[in-house]
Symmetry: C2
Protein backbone atom coordinates (compact mmCIF):
# COMPACT_ATOMS: atom_id res chain seq x y z
CA UNK A 1 0.00 0.00 0.00
CA UNK A 2 1.85 3.04 -1.22
CA UNK A 3 -0.93 5.49 -0.60
CA UNK A 4 -2.61 6.43 2.61
CA UNK A 5 -6.14 7.52 3.03
CA UNK A 6 -6.62 10.60 5.17
CA UNK A 7 -8.11 8.42 7.88
CA UNK A 8 -5.01 6.20 7.82
CA UNK A 9 -2.81 9.22 8.32
CA UNK A 10 -4.99 10.38 11.17
CA UNK A 11 -4.86 6.97 12.80
CA UNK A 12 -1.09 6.72 12.48
CA UNK A 13 -0.30 10.19 13.66
CA UNK A 14 -3.10 11.07 16.03
CA UNK A 15 -3.70 14.26 14.05
CA UNK A 16 -7.42 14.82 13.41
CA UNK A 17 -8.59 14.70 9.80
CA UNK A 18 -9.86 18.25 10.08
CA UNK A 19 -6.36 19.32 10.99
CA UNK A 20 -4.88 17.38 8.11
CA UNK A 21 -7.17 19.14 5.67
CA UNK A 22 -6.31 22.42 7.33
CA UNK A 23 -2.60 21.72 7.02
CA UNK A 24 -2.98 20.82 3.39
CA UNK A 25 -4.87 24.01 2.73
CA UNK A 26 -2.10 25.93 4.46
CA UNK A 27 0.50 24.20 2.33
CA UNK A 28 2.18 22.32 5.16
CA UNK A 29 1.52 18.94 3.69
CA UNK A 30 0.46 17.83 0.24
CA UNK A 31 -1.69 15.00 -0.99
CA UNK A 32 -0.35 12.98 -3.89
CA UNK A 33 -3.70 12.94 -5.62
CA UNK A 34 -7.24 11.77 -5.29
CA UNK A 35 -9.05 8.52 -5.34
CA UNK A 36 -12.43 9.78 -6.37
CA UNK A 37 -12.91 12.65 -4.00
CA UNK A 38 -10.58 11.24 -1.42
CA UNK A 39 -7.14 12.53 -0.76
CA UNK A 40 -4.25 10.11 -1.00
CA UNK A 41 -1.10 10.72 0.97
CA UNK A 42 2.40 9.36 0.54
CA UNK A 43 3.66 7.46 3.59
CA UNK A 44 6.29 10.14 4.13
CA UNK A 45 3.61 12.50 5.31
CA UNK A 46 3.62 10.68 8.61
CA UNK A 47 7.17 11.69 9.37
CA UNK A 48 6.46 15.13 8.07
CA UNK A 49 3.65 15.49 10.54
CA UNK A 50 6.01 14.44 13.29
CA UNK A 51 8.28 17.23 12.26
CA UNK A 52 5.41 19.64 12.26
CA UNK A 53 4.48 18.58 15.78
CA UNK A 54 8.06 19.09 16.81
CA UNK A 55 8.16 22.53 15.30
CA UNK A 56 4.97 23.48 17.07
CA UNK A 57 6.37 22.20 20.34
CA UNK A 58 9.44 24.31 19.85
CA UNK A 59 7.25 27.34 19.40
CA UNK A 60 7.39 27.78 15.64
CA UNK A 61 4.26 29.09 13.97
CA UNK A 62 2.67 27.14 11.15
CA UNK A 63 3.92 29.75 8.73
CA UNK A 64 7.45 29.31 9.95
CA UNK A 65 7.12 25.56 9.74
CA UNK A 66 5.93 25.76 6.18
CA UNK A 67 9.23 27.40 5.38
CA UNK A 68 11.08 24.38 6.70
CA UNK A 69 9.99 22.11 3.89
CA UNK A 70 11.19 22.04 0.34
CA UNK A 71 8.41 21.95 -2.25
CA UNK A 72 8.76 18.17 -2.38
CA UNK A 73 8.05 17.84 1.32
CA UNK A 74 11.60 17.13 2.41
CA UNK A 75 12.72 19.08 5.44
CA UNK A 76 15.22 21.82 4.79
CA UNK A 77 15.79 23.41 8.11
CA UNK A 78 17.97 26.39 8.60
CA UNK A 79 20.42 25.53 11.36
CA UNK A 80 20.67 29.11 12.45
CA UNK A 81 16.95 29.11 12.92
CA UNK A 82 17.25 26.13 15.21
CA UNK A 83 20.00 27.75 17.21
CA UNK A 84 18.00 30.93 17.50
CA UNK A 85 14.99 29.02 18.70
CA UNK A 86 17.14 27.08 21.16
CA UNK A 87 18.44 30.37 22.55
CA UNK A 88 14.93 31.64 22.81
CA UNK A 89 13.92 28.52 24.68
CA UNK A 90 16.85 28.99 26.96
CA UNK A 91 15.75 32.47 27.87
CA UNK A 92 12.23 31.26 28.48
CA UNK A 93 13.53 28.49 30.68
CA UNK A 94 15.47 30.92 32.81
CA UNK A 95 12.52 33.20 33.26
CA UNK A 96 10.25 30.33 34.13
CA UNK A 97 12.74 28.91 36.59
CA UNK A 98 12.99 32.23 38.40
CA UNK A 99 9.25 32.47 38.46
CA UNK A 100 8.88 28.95 39.76
CA UNK A 101 11.30 29.64 42.59
CA UNK A 102 9.40 32.74 43.49
CA UNK A 103 6.10 30.93 43.47
CA UNK A 104 7.52 28.28 45.75
CA UNK A 105 8.78 30.95 48.06
CA UNK A 106 5.42 32.63 48.13
CA UNK A 107 3.74 29.33 48.86
CA UNK A 108 6.06 28.69 51.78
CA UNK A 109 6.30 32.26 52.98
CA UNK A 110 5.30 32.67 56.62
CA UNK A 111 3.98 36.20 56.21
CA UNK A 112 0.27 36.28 56.96
CA UNK A 113 -0.40 38.10 53.73
CA UNK A 114 1.68 37.98 50.59
CA UNK A 115 1.77 41.73 50.43
CA UNK A 116 3.87 41.70 53.57
CA UNK A 117 6.57 39.49 52.14
CA UNK A 118 9.53 41.33 50.70
CA UNK A 119 10.44 38.65 48.22
CA UNK A 120 6.92 38.51 46.96
CA UNK A 121 6.71 42.24 46.64
CA UNK A 122 9.84 42.47 44.56
CA UNK A 123 8.54 39.63 42.43
CA UNK A 124 5.34 41.52 41.84
CA UNK A 125 7.31 44.59 40.93
CA UNK A 126 9.37 42.63 38.43
CA UNK A 127 6.27 41.20 36.82
CA UNK A 128 4.67 44.62 36.70
CA UNK A 129 7.67 46.02 34.90
CA UNK A 130 7.23 43.49 32.16
CA UNK A 131 10.28 41.37 32.99
CA UNK A 132 8.18 38.25 32.74
CA UNK A 133 5.86 38.20 29.75
CA UNK A 134 2.66 36.16 29.86
CA UNK A 135 2.76 32.80 28.11
CA UNK A 136 -0.73 33.02 26.61
CA UNK A 137 -3.20 30.26 26.11
CA UNK A 138 -3.00 26.78 27.46
CA UNK A 139 -2.02 24.06 25.04
CA UNK A 140 -5.14 22.35 23.65
CA UNK A 141 -3.95 18.98 24.99
CA UNK A 142 -4.34 16.89 21.90
CA UNK A 143 -4.41 13.15 21.46
CA UNK A 144 -1.12 12.02 22.95
CA UNK A 145 -1.22 8.40 21.86
CA UNK A 146 -1.91 7.53 18.24
CA UNK A 147 -3.44 4.14 17.61
CA UNK A 148 -0.35 2.75 15.91
CA UNK A 149 2.76 4.66 16.94
CA UNK A 150 4.76 2.06 15.05
Amino acid sequence: MTHLDIADVARRTGVPVSTLRFYEEKGLIASTGRHGLRRQFAPGVVEQLGLIALGRAAGFSLDEIRGMFAPDGRPEIDREMLTAKADELDATIHRLAALRDSLRHAAACPAPRHTECTTFRSLVRAAASGAVPPPDRKPPQRNASPAHPS
Copy 2:
Protein backbone atom coordinates in the same frame (compact mmCIF):
# COMPACT_ATOMS: atom_id res chain seq x y z
CA MET B 1 -4.33 62.77 45.91
CA THR B 2 -6.13 59.69 47.10
CA HIS B 3 -7.73 58.91 43.80
CA LEU B 4 -6.18 58.05 40.52
CA ASP B 5 -7.55 58.79 37.14
CA ILE B 6 -7.51 55.88 34.71
CA ALA B 7 -4.75 57.62 32.77
CA ASP B 8 -2.68 57.92 35.95
CA VAL B 9 -3.01 54.21 36.53
CA ALA B 10 -2.03 53.52 32.96
CA ARG B 11 0.99 55.77 33.26
CA ARG B 12 2.12 54.20 36.51
CA THR B 13 1.66 50.62 35.46
CA GLY B 14 2.18 50.60 31.73
CA VAL B 15 -1.16 48.87 31.33
CA PRO B 16 -3.21 50.45 28.51
CA VAL B 17 -6.43 52.16 29.50
CA SER B 18 -8.37 49.83 27.25
CA THR B 19 -7.00 46.94 29.26
CA LEU B 20 -7.86 48.62 32.52
CA ARG B 21 -11.46 49.02 31.43
CA PHE B 22 -11.44 45.45 30.25
CA TYR B 23 -10.10 44.26 33.60
CA GLU B 24 -12.73 46.23 35.45
CA GLU B 25 -15.44 44.76 33.30
CA LYS B 26 -14.06 41.32 34.05
CA GLY B 27 -14.06 42.05 37.76
CA LEU B 28 -10.29 41.92 38.21
CA ILE B 29 -10.04 45.45 39.47
CA ALA B 30 -12.63 47.86 40.75
CA SER B 31 -12.95 51.60 40.53
CA THR B 32 -13.84 53.41 43.71
CA GLY B 33 -16.35 55.62 41.98
CA ARG B 34 -16.70 58.23 39.33
CA HIS B 35 -15.81 61.84 38.90
CA GLY B 36 -18.45 62.74 36.39
CA LEU B 37 -18.05 59.94 33.90
CA ARG B 38 -14.50 59.23 34.83
CA ARG B 39 -13.42 56.27 36.83
CA GLN B 40 -11.44 56.89 39.96
CA PHE B 41 -9.09 54.26 41.28
CA ALA B 42 -7.59 53.76 44.71
CA PRO B 43 -3.78 53.79 44.68
CA GLY B 44 -3.78 50.12 45.71
CA VAL B 45 -4.88 49.19 42.22
CA VAL B 46 -1.32 49.71 41.08
CA GLU B 47 -0.02 46.90 43.22
CA GLN B 48 -3.01 44.82 42.29
CA LEU B 49 -2.12 45.21 38.65
CA GLY B 50 1.39 44.10 39.44
CA LEU B 51 -0.04 40.97 40.95
CA ILE B 52 -2.20 40.43 37.91
CA ALA B 53 0.85 40.74 35.67
CA LEU B 54 2.62 38.22 37.84
CA GLY B 55 -0.26 35.81 37.67
CA ARG B 56 -0.38 36.11 33.90
CA ALA B 57 3.35 35.50 33.71
CA ALA B 58 2.94 32.38 35.79
CA GLY B 59 0.35 31.13 33.36
CA PHE B 60 -2.82 31.82 35.28
CA SER B 61 -5.85 32.79 33.24
CA LEU B 62 -7.68 36.00 34.02
CA ASP B 63 -10.50 33.96 35.49
CA GLU B 64 -8.11 32.21 37.84
CA ILE B 65 -6.55 35.49 38.81
CA ARG B 66 -9.92 36.96 39.63
CA GLY B 67 -10.27 34.18 42.19
CA MET B 68 -7.09 35.35 43.90
CA PHE B 69 -8.59 38.57 45.17
CA ALA B 70 -10.98 39.05 48.01
CA PRO B 71 -13.97 41.25 47.18
CA ASP B 72 -12.10 44.23 48.65
CA GLY B 73 -9.20 43.77 46.26
CA ARG B 74 -6.78 42.27 48.75
CA PRO B 75 -4.92 39.26 47.46
CA GLU B 76 -5.96 35.95 48.96
CA ILE B 77 -3.90 33.41 47.22
CA ASP B 78 -4.26 29.75 47.83
CA ARG B 79 -0.81 28.41 48.63
CA GLU B 80 -1.63 25.04 47.18
CA MET B 81 -2.49 26.76 43.97
CA LEU B 82 0.93 28.37 43.92
CA THR B 83 2.64 25.09 44.58
CA ALA B 84 0.63 23.40 41.87
CA LYS B 85 1.53 26.12 39.43
CA ALA B 86 5.17 25.87 40.44
CA ASP B 87 5.09 22.15 39.76
CA GLU B 88 3.48 22.79 36.44
CA LEU B 89 6.19 25.29 35.59
CA ASP B 90 8.76 22.75 36.60
CA ALA B 91 7.38 20.19 34.21
CA THR B 92 7.29 22.77 31.44
CA ILE B 93 10.86 23.72 32.16
CA HIS B 94 12.01 20.13 31.87
CA ARG B 95 10.23 19.64 28.59
CA LEU B 96 11.61 22.84 27.18
CA ALA B 97 15.10 22.00 28.31
CA ALA B 98 14.96 18.64 26.57
CA LEU B 99 13.63 20.31 23.49
CA ARG B 100 16.32 22.96 23.57
CA ASP B 101 19.03 20.33 23.81
CA SER B 102 17.56 18.49 20.87
CA LEU B 103 17.36 21.63 18.80
CA ARG B 104 20.97 22.39 19.54
CA HIS B 105 21.90 18.88 18.56
CA ALA B 106 19.98 19.16 15.33
CA ALA B 107 21.64 22.48 14.59
CA ALA B 108 25.06 20.97 15.11
CA CYS B 109 24.32 17.57 13.62
CA PRO B 110 26.70 16.66 10.81
CA ALA B 111 24.18 14.54 8.90
CA PRO B 112 23.47 16.12 5.52
CA ARG B 113 19.77 15.91 6.13
CA HIS B 114 18.04 15.91 9.45
CA THR B 115 16.07 12.85 8.51
CA GLU B 116 19.31 10.91 8.57
CA CYS B 117 20.16 11.81 12.13
CA THR B 118 19.09 9.26 14.70
CA THR B 119 18.76 11.74 17.51
CA PHE B 120 16.65 13.97 15.40
CA ARG B 121 14.46 11.11 14.30
CA SER B 122 13.75 10.02 17.84
CA LEU B 123 13.02 13.61 18.73
CA VAL B 124 10.52 13.83 15.93
CA ARG B 125 8.92 10.63 17.09
CA ALA B 126 8.60 11.96 20.63
CA ALA B 127 6.98 15.15 19.40
CA ALA B 128 4.64 13.20 17.16
CA SER B 129 3.51 11.12 20.08
CA GLY B 130 2.43 14.24 21.91
CA ALA B 131 5.15 14.18 24.54
CA VAL B 132 5.81 17.85 23.91
CA PRO B 133 2.68 19.96 23.60
CA PRO B 134 2.77 23.19 21.61
CA PRO B 135 3.09 26.42 23.59
CA ASP B 136 0.77 28.46 21.39
CA ARG B 137 0.99 32.10 20.48
CA LYS B 138 3.83 34.43 21.05
CA PRO B 139 3.53 36.86 23.92
CA PRO B 140 2.27 40.23 22.68
CA GLN B 141 5.37 41.99 24.03
CA ARG B 142 3.74 44.78 25.96
CA ASN B 143 5.14 48.02 27.26
CA ALA B 144 7.91 46.89 29.56
CA SER B 145 8.77 50.25 31.09
CA PRO B 146 6.05 52.34 32.66
CA ALA B 147 6.72 56.05 32.80
CA HIS B 148 7.05 56.18 36.56
CA PRO B 149 7.97 52.76 37.95
CA SER B 150 8.44 54.46 41.31
